[in-house]
């Protein structure tokens, strides 16, 4: 992959959201509703905590080895032999996720849209589109994502309004009365879906600065969490947990419920046309990450060399791996979380431990000094001060004051709100059984927390010293 390619902060945040959200949109509410029932929308707080830990771990490694991707960092940390074994594990993990996503899309397309078309042909055509895009740079993919992500974001934000006549709140009250254990189990399962975030390690050299990476990725995770929470909440309150947990594609069924007028139906086709490019973008990102990983074995930088044979291998292994939808479903919901916890988490911990070796003391010192210098530069930067004083724009004094708050305040507020969200779930789960109003109050406050975290993480991103985004006009 060309090292000169750059991704801007916002672009990275949106790419992360796309990667984490698109596939989960189709699947997550089903298993979560089955396990946690009406409390399914509380099942994203543990994944967020895990994601933040992972992001911080990668941020540390990025500071130690600036300009290197995760594969190169593995080789630096663990040596050529053991590093390649780790890279192989990471590659295998990405390959499994790629197969899962492609097969899921093909099943969905076959079931909903193209019943007569052989599934192999759907996969083949899908993979040819991926081949076409993956041969170009990731920058192109990111720009395509810039076109489609806002559309999906707006659509999801308007979904409660479009479905306002379908809500049935009484059916699902009271909330948080079934105890904490099902919520915890569903949270742990959902962490497997959030493990798609690991892919970003392959694109580290494309991000300008470790701090930019940290804030953008965190915002991307929070944004996708907000949207997934919203979607699950709508699913639960429109379809109800029994239907959500039994439908093959509950989110699709949900969108089919939109009836704006007597004649404006089949909106799901329009929505699918926005969603489909995003899932292609996700598969392209994984393909690019695998190509970069293969290059770490060959020592090449041109990712196009292996792309054609790899696309064929991916296509054929996807066809040969799964026979029925149940296999894909079980693999996605039960195997991937197990692989993540048994396989990926120990590798990530090992990398952090390896980076603490005395051998890398000089790098750690240099990274600290560089960060200190950057901090001082930021403090002395007249543009930064100018932006701070103009921060409020046309808003009132309160907003001016709030917008002037430095990065670390926003970061702390993000952490506090996530911790508060977790505490609210625990408190609601403990007291909701005896006092239903406590569960409802905890649920409302939790929703407010999630909404505020989107704002604080966005402000974090904004307050980071932001270089101009390349590849943007």
């Amino acid at each position: 992959m060309d090292q000169k390619q750059m991704i801007g902060q916002r672009q990275l945040a949106w790419l992360i959201s796309s990667i984490m959200m698109t596939q989960a949109l189709m699947n997550l509410p089903r298993e979560t509703s089955l396990i946690a029932g009406i409390n399914a929308w509380f099942c994203y707080i543990v994944p967020v905590a895990f994601s933040f830990l992972y992001i911080y771990g990668v941020y540390r490694l990025m500071r130690l080895f600036p300009g290197k991707n995760l594969y190169e960092i593995n080789l630096e940390l663990a040596g050529p032999v053991f590093g390649r074994i780790i890279n192989l594990i990471v590659l295998l993990y990405f390959w499994l996720i790629l197969m899962r996503d492609v097969r899921w899309v093909s099943f969905f397309t076959k079931t909903v849209l193209l019943q007569q078309t052989p599934e192999e042909i759907i996969i083949l055509v899908f993979m040819f589109v991926v081949l076409y895009y993956a041969r170009s740079s990731l920058e192109v993919t990111v720009r395509v994502n810039d076109l489609f992500f806002p559309a999906v974001l707006l659509l999801m934000l308007f979904l409660p309004i479009l479905l306002v006549n379908e809500f049935n709140f009484r059916l699902n009250d009271p909330i948080l009365t079934d105890g904490l254990f099902p919520i915890l189990v569903a949270n742990v399962l959902n962490t497997g879906w959030y493990a798609d975030l690991l892919v970003i390690g392959a694109f580290l050299p494309m991000v300008s600065g470790a701090r930019s990476f940290l804030t953008s990725t965190r915002h991307g995770v929070v944004l996708s969490t907000f949207l997934l929470t919203l979607l699950t909440w709508i699913n639960v309150y429109v379809l109800g947990p029994p239907i959500t947990s039994r439908a093959i594609f509950p989110s699709y069924l949900l969108i089919q419920q939109i009836h704006l007028t007597d004649f404006l139906d089949r909106l799901e086709i329009l929505i699918y046309s926005f969603w489909a490019p995003m899932i292609i973008i996700k598969v392209i990102a994984f393909t690019a990450a695998i190509m970069i990983g293969i290059n770490s074995f060959t020592g090449e930088t041109d990712h196009r060399l292996m792309i054609r044979p790899f696309i064929w291998i991916a296509t054929l292994t996807t066809i040969l791996s799964f026979r029925t939808f149940t296999e894909v479903y079980n693999f996605a919901n039960f195997s991937i979380p197990a692989i993540f916890f048994v396989w990926a988490v120990p590798v990530l911990i090992l990398l952090q431990l390896l980076s603490l070796r005395p051998k890398f003391a000089a790098q750690r010192r240099r990274a600290s000094e560089k960060e200190q210098e950057q901090h001082e530069e930021r403090m002395n930067d007249p543009n930064e001060k100018h932006e701070s004083s103009e921060g409020g724009g046309q808003n009132g004094p309160f907003f001016q004051k709030v917008n002037r708050l430095p990065y670390r305040i926003w970061k702390h507020w993000t952490h506090r709100l996530i911790a508060l969200g977790a505490l609210l779930i625990i408190a609601g789960g403990l007291f909701g059984r005896y006092l239903p109003a406590a569960g409802t109050a905890a649920g409302i406050l939790y929703a407010v927390c999630i909404l505020l975290v989107v704002w604080t993480s966005y402000m974090e991103m904004r307050r980071t010293n932001q270089p101009p985004e390349s590849g943007q006009t």
Partner: protein
């Protein structure tokens, strides 16, 4: 239908091999890259032949599909009282 699918796959594979410029890039690449390129091609060709012949070779993903997934599923359903 099945025979048409197999034919389409075979023709598409041959077309991509013929029109792929990667093999021309190989002359400028390292020995390891060239070795890996041919390994990938051989793997793709072998998988294609297996798919066309209707064989289903055991792959790493099968272990996770048939061994891990049912085990984790039954464990979670047992814990949460679903099953």
């Amino acid at each position: 239908v099945a025979q048409s699918v197999e034919l389409i796959f075979a023709v598409c594979y041959l077309l991509t091999v013929l029109f792929d410029r990667s093999s021309f890039l190989l002359s400028r690449k390292t020995k390891r890259a060239a070795w890996m390129f041919w390994l990938f091609n051989a793997a793709a060709a072998a998988l294609l032949i297996a798919a066309i012949c209707g064989w289903r070779p055991y792959m790493p993903s099968h272990f996770f599909i048939y061994t891990i997934a049912p085990w984790v599923k039954s464990l979670i359903y047992y814990w949460t009282g679903i099953a």
